[in-house]
């Protein structure tokens, strides 16, 4: 019990220290600029730890790039210009939301395409089973059904006998 509580306390401490480690010393006087800065950091990828945004990463490069974003926001550059600055140096990969282009078409549209195929296949299967239910049995099938039913009845009676 006590051990468990200490474990939790340790975990909380760890989480708190991790959150603390991500430095955010860059503050704007203007809340609108601050909001733009924060939003941009969440749109840009850190190229060192590739699955983190600039806002999340502790890498040196991310710190440098946060500094650049801060500088550009302070200099009243608009968002497209700041994004373009990053793309010019690091390519589209720096964007967390890749633009739709020749190399990313499958990334953007494959899920919808697969969904359409799934719906089509599902409808074919549904139709096939509905059709099977509607079609009356042939004489041969009727006879087989009757024999199966009869043997089933016989089998269920066997233990009682």
């Amino acid at each position: 019990m006590c051990k468990g509580a200490r474990g939790w306390a340790g975990l909380l401490l760890l989480v708190a220290s991790l959150a603390y480690a991500i430095d955010r010393p860059l503050n704007f006087g203007d809340p609108a600029q601050q909001a733009r800065y924060e939003a941009l950091l969440h749109e840009l990828r850190c190229l060192v730890c590739q699955n983190q945004t600039l806002a999340d990463s502790e890498a040196d490069l991310a710190q440098d790039l946060r500094g650049e974003v801060y500088r550009m926001v302070s200099a009243q550059m608009d968002d497209p210009a700041i994004i373009a600055f990053m793309v010019k140096r690091y390519g589209d990969f720096v964007l967390y939301r890749p633009p739709v282009q020749r190399t990313t078409v499958s990334l953007w549209y494959a899920p919808a395409f697969l969904l359409v195929i799934m719906v089509l296949v599902w409808r074919r299967v549904q139709q096939a089973s509905a059709l099977a239910l509607q079609t009356p049995l042939t004489a041969q099938e009727q006879a087989r059904l009757a024999s199966i039913m009869a043997s089933g009845t016989a089998a269920s009676k066997t233990p009682e006998a």
Binding site: L47, V48, L61, D64, L65, V87, R89, Y90, G91, F93
Partner: protein, 177 residues
């Protein structure tokens, strides 16, 4: 016939995943290839009063190697650079990235200096403009100052032989340069 579709799908998936296994997820294609190298004005590592600019390196193709004394992967490629620098036809220029003069110069004194010239970039300003994200990085820049090739990570003799040496030969063989 009934199993043709699943087997085909499985086969395609196998090929796609197999190819995917061999890709390097850390490789980021540089948007700077075939674009002019960024302008800069920085001092030389060995002389704070000597200002180097992009035009300092025009007129011949160069190999621009981004390095730092704190970068351990740079140490693995350093002997190769030193060996290559014995060939006077190869001009290796260093970009000393986010380092101090003392550390960088001590490093060169201890391990040999393969660089014809070293650009001192303590703030990483030129590094940023070059889209550097993992030292060491190596660029090939042609006589007109256009970036022709970028290598991320340490150079190896194989990479040099297969990619950089042929490119340099091609760039040097061009008439009118």
């Amino acid at each position: 016939m009934k199993y043709l579709a699943p087997v085909a799908i499985f086969g395609v998936l196998l090929v796609v995943l197999w190819v995917g296994l061999k890709l390097d997820p850390h490789y980021v294609p540089s948007p700077l290839i075939d674009h002019p190298a960024p302008e800069f004005s920085l001092s030389a590592l060995d002389d704070a009063n000597h200002v180097l600019t992009k035009t300092s390196f025009h007129g011949r193709p160069i190999v621009l190697n981004v390095w730092s004394s704190w970068c351990s992967a740079c140490r693995t490629e350093h002997p190769l650079l030193v060996a290559l620098s014995r060939d006077t036809a190869i001009e290796i220029v260093g970009l000393n990235y986010k380092d101090t003069r003392e550390d960088a110069q001590r490093n060169l004194a201890d391990h040999g200096n393969p660089y014809r010239q070293n650009i001192f970039d303590p703030a990483g300003k030129l590094g940023l403009d070059l889209g550097v994200y993992g030292v060491p990085e190596t660029f090939v820049i042609d006589a007109e100052g256009v970036i022709r090739h970028k290598q991320v990570g340490p150079l190896t003799p194989e990479i040099w032989q297969q990619e950089i040496a042929p490119l340099l030969a091609k760039l040097k063989g061009r008439p009118g340069v």
